[in-house]
């Protein structure tokens, strides 16, 4: 397999975004691009004009140990048939990154979700209301320090069924020992 298309994309990106972004080829039809928090919008603007018109998703990864959130913009070019992951890191203390709506209109919903699930703020996004959760009172649930098991046990506490289980187990045992006719 040849990586001609990927190489040429990398060359173009390196040429245009030499100082602000680092590009690497992951595999066939997949590239990665690392950039700084403040440079994301110009980088995305360039990539869109380059042909990456399809924003497939915006993901967020919580790197708890590093104290950072990683925002991953997932782009695809219908012309070159290649995808690129644009990654940037923002601090966990004050998570804030400019909205990508001016470039990709569809970013609105993705940013809304990340705002709700991670508590990342997107200045410029007019619609940062809750998307999936309603009357949510806990911390943003997708953060690594949110323990869903503890939260679920506290909120939805299940009934203790050990007694019933014991009765059931005794029945099974009785059947096994031949006390009861099957």
């Amino acid at each position: 397999m040849s990586l001609d298309v990927e190489e040429s994309i990398k060359q173009d990106i390196d040429l245009r975004l030499k100082d602000i972004a680092k590009c690497e080829i992951q595999r066939e039809r997949r590239l990665k691009l690392y950039t700084g928090k403040d440079r994301v919008i110009p980088v995305l603007g360039f990539l869109k004009s380059y042909g990456f018109i399809h924003l497939a998703a915006i993901s967020c990864v919580d790197w708890l140990d590093d104290g950072e959130f990683e925002i991953v913009y997932n782009l695809w070019s219908y012309r070159d048939k290649a995808g690129i992951l644009v990654k940037t890191r923002i601090s966990r203390e004050n998570p804030e990154i400019d909205t990508a709506i001016p470039i990709y209109e569809i970013a609105e919903t993705y940013e809304r979700e990340i705002h709700e699930m991670f508590g990342v703020n997107f200045p410029g996004n007019p619609n940062l209301t809750s998307l999936f959760l309603e009357d949510w009172n806990g911390p943003p649930p997708m953060r690594k320090d949110f323990d869903t098991r503890k939260y679920a046990a506290e909120k939805y506490g299940m009934r203790d069924l050990t007694e019933q289980l014991k009765i059931g187990m005794d029945k099974i045992k009785g059947v096994r020992d031949g006390d009861e006719i099957l």
Binding site: L133, D135, T148, R149, Y151, A152, K155, Y156, M158, R159
Partner: protein, 169 residues
Amino acid sequence: MGLFKFSRSRSLWMMHFCTGCGAIEMPPTMTSRYDMERFGIIPMATPRQSDLLLVTGYLTVKTLKRVVRSYEQMAEPKYVIAFGSCTMRGGMYWDSYNTVKELDLYIPVDIYINGCMPRPEAIIDAFIKLRDMIDKGEANAWKNYRDNLDWYKQNQAKVFDINKWSAKI
């Protein structure tokens, strides 16, 4: 009175509310292969007209509010069939932060169907069981709700703000 009871068990109108993934086995049950209209069960568009609520799978808190509200709008006598493991003890989502685990804490349940997800045969079996239960006068979960309203409301209040979300009976 016997005639009313007979007709009650043979004409169950179910509410068209797909609350979870169990809803994927409802269309086959409704349509030509399994055809539940044989038993007089047809989907109805609104809670007012329906007798049977099918909780098809896990309920998120957001859906639970709507389910409770829809359930309270149904005219008595009304019956509830809950689908799948996730309505019993949380099933696959036992540690999820957004789904309720035991459904009968919040609304009364006549019949649980186990499995993930129940096959159409299991669903039809549940319908037949419910029919027998109504004939024998055992399907009384709705009376239970009426009698123990405080207990149910108390449980609902643990999960959401009932003053905001649930109608007063």
